[in-house]
Subunit: 205 residues, 2 copies
């Protein structure tokens, strides 16, 4: 399998954490691919018209995206504990946490894009909206730390780890831990998993 | 069940099409909720910190989001043909089409937001990137019309219908059908399904 990959992308990181947890890393060939919102990348677009990463090209030429689909596909290829619970309440909990982590990431990416515009082209109310939603999401995560700890490590945990890791990577001045000690302690614990350590984001150029 | 709902949102429309297909519409109480990216809505945020719709509040108080999770949950509540194929290649096909439809929608929403800024605050290259990705996605859909027709109607078809319907709703001047006759004819055929007719987008205020 070939993966349009970047060491900076938190969505790619989800896929790589799943690959480590599932013992599949050696089967994935990484292709360094740059997906910038303002610059469509023809090399990615040959496989995904939306020019987004991760995009996975299977050995038979079929293509899978987005990150959620790739993660679930990789989860179908191994016999360890599933990262997507098969059914019932544990599945809805995992998928809701996944959506919360991914939704937080979506807001953070747009917030960062806005912050990096020329000063006269920034929308103040939009940036304040992203900050408010980020703080609200952190408050929910802080309240839900106990159920997160009680649930088996899975796709919800992975998305949340990637979102909090992205806060450290791109919002170093934001101090997201302040006022959210429960989820901050949970994050520090998760950060010791090999799959999380091996995928820490890096600015490679 | 109570649904944070709007007749304008293409993501809410996905949920409502699933509800009609599954025979569950009567069990869903709609709460008209306005989710504007620049104006967080406290009424939504009590249930979803990201202030996005659809958000579904279950009878026992538990909450589900985003649209993909709600659609899959509703699909677990009925005994008709499943809209999420259970496993195998039909599932990956359906989930990839779902990601393609949703990803096209994500690009269209951001394109429209950019287009509605003050002229001096718009990024020309960003708008051109969204147009290029939209055209590339339409070309892929046009090439894949036959497999779409051959597959049982499901979550992939639903997401694509909502994305193309959104082009008609918010990009009336774009003429997306030109050069994409296959997928345009497919869309016209899908538009005759009661679930699609009953959920046509409306500007209600």
């Amino acid at each position: 399998m070939k993966l349009h990959w970047s060491p900076r992308s938190p969505y790619v990181r989800k896929v790589m954490i799943v690959a480590y947890e599932a013992g599949l890393v050696d089967r994935i060939e990484r292709m360094r691919s740059v997906a910038a919102m303002r610059k469509p990348n023809p090399a990615i677009m040959r496989d995904n018209p939306l020019s987004k990463i991760p995009t996975l090209v299977l050995d038979d030429g079929r293509v899978l995206f987005d990150s959620a689909v790739i993660c679930e596909y990789l989860d179908s290829l191994h016999a360890r504990t599933p990262l997507f619970p098969k059914s019932g309440q544990t599945r809805w909990d995992a998928l809701r946490w996944h959506a919360l982590g991914d939704g937080l990431l979506d807001a953070l990416i747009l917030w960062r894009n806005e912050r990096e515009r020329e000063p006269g082209q920034r929308l103040q109310d939009l940036m304040e909206a992203f900050e408010l939603k980020t703080r609200a999401a952190l408050a929910v995560l802080d309240r839900e730390t106990q159920p997160l700890e009680a649930a088996p490590f899975g796709i919800g945990h992975i998305a949340i780890v990637c979102a909090l890791g992205y806060l450290d990577f791109r919002f170093a001045g934001f101090d997201w831990r302040s006022g959210h000690q429960q989820i901050a302690a949970w994050f520090d614990k998760q950060s010791q998993r090999p799959s999380v350590q091996n995928t820490a984001p890096v600015d490679d150029q």
